[in-house]
Every structure is written in C-alpha cells, then in structure tokens.
Amino acid sequence: MPTLRIQGNEIPYEEKDIITFPEGLVGLPHLTRMVAVKEATIEPFIWFAAVSEDDDVAFVVAEAHSIFPHYEPKLPPDSNMNGLLAENEVPVVLAIVLIDADWQKSTANLRAPLFISAKTMRGAQVVLNDNSFSVAEPLPLAATAA
C-alpha cells in the first residue's frame, strides 16, 4: 500500500482515497492529488496531504460548517467546481486552517474553501465572491483546554 509522510509519520492510503483537484490549489497548481487523513489527536482537524513524489506537503483542514455553524458559502455560478459535482450533490466544504506558533492566533480561510464531491472524488479551491468571508477567520477556541 502506498504511504504519505505527515510530520515524519508514514500514513498508508489507498488509490481510491485520492481526491483530484484538476487545477491544483490557488498558487500551488502542482497539488492536484490530495488525501484526507483523520487522526484522533488532532480532531476536529483533518490532515489534507498531497500525493507527491517530490515533497511532503500537508495542510490542516476542518469541515467548515461544523466549526462555523452559520457559514454557508455559495458557489459562484461560473465557479471552477462546475462539472465536478454529481447531479444534485451537496459538496463537502473544508476550510484550510493556519496553525500559528502562538496557538491563539490560529485561523481558518473562509474566503477560499475547498469544495469536494464525495461521489466523483474531485474538488476545487473556490475563491468566493462574497468578500465578507475572511481569509484569516479566528478559530473558536476555549479559554482553557480540558
């Protein structure tokens, strides 16, 4: 079974787990094959790692609606998700998270979320037209950890 390297750990994955991003991510067009990896210690976050021979690239992402219940991004009519969703399919929406060395400053990118079709296993990073969504929205964090 092929593996990904995330923070020095070898994580096995299967070919069927690969989500294809035909145009890559914004500014990172080579990231076209990604795999989501769940890990209990970082829940509710999910690793989102690139399948790449050259380097080990992984993002921390989160299911956007579960963290920001009022977040309901609308796909622009001419978005790059056109043609990637199955008929009447509701896409999975993930926000890329930026973990700051100062944890309190960690944020999520709500302006350009990842839309993914679980049926076609294809996705795109969509830049939303609504500029009230922040590229760096502070995460809802408890004052103390359990």
Binding site: I42, A49, V60, A62, V135, A142
Partner: protein, 86 residues
C-alpha cells in the same frame, strides 16, 4: 512583460482560448470582459495573491514545526464545542 495598446471594443487572446475584451474606460478604471474555459479560474490579482500567500503559509506548517501548537488548538476546539453543547 508584453505591453500592447487596445481601444474600447478591441480584444486580445491569451493562449488559444482566453479572450480579453476592453469593454469601457472611465477615468482611471478599465472594464474588462474575459472569456475563458470553465476550468480556468480568473481572479483579481490582490485576492489571488492573498489566498496564495495564505495557502503557502498553511502548507509550510506541514513540515512539522508547530506540532504542539496543533494539538493545543485541537484540544481547545473540542473543549469549545463541549461548552456549547452544555
């Protein structure tokens, strides 16, 4: 950088498929119409640049430097959720 002069109503082609038309000019603003294949995204540069920078900053994390910070943030996210459910 290639520099060309176009008038209102004139177009140019990038590659074989992307057509840019000058629709109107008003003061120092230029209105452009862009026809591109659906798989080609078109963004205002400032927005693109901001998101590109955010993506790169987020992917740099994967190298693994701030691992303890990640666990800390995850724990506080779970705690926050638990507080809200009470």
């Amino acid at each position: 950088m290639l520099v060309l002069t176009r008038r209102v109503g004139e177009k140019l082609v990038i590659g074989n498929e992307i057509v840019v038309e000058v629709l109107s000019i008003s003061g120092d603003g230029v209105r452009l119409g862009i026809a591109a294949p659906r798989e080609t995204s078109v963004h205002r540069f400032e927005v693109f640049d901001e998101i590109q920078a955010a993506n790169r900053a987020s992917s740099a994390f994967a190298g693994g430097k701030s691992g303890s910070s990640l666990a800390e943030v995850a724990a506080r996210m779970r705690e926050k959720k638990a507080e809200e459910c009470q």
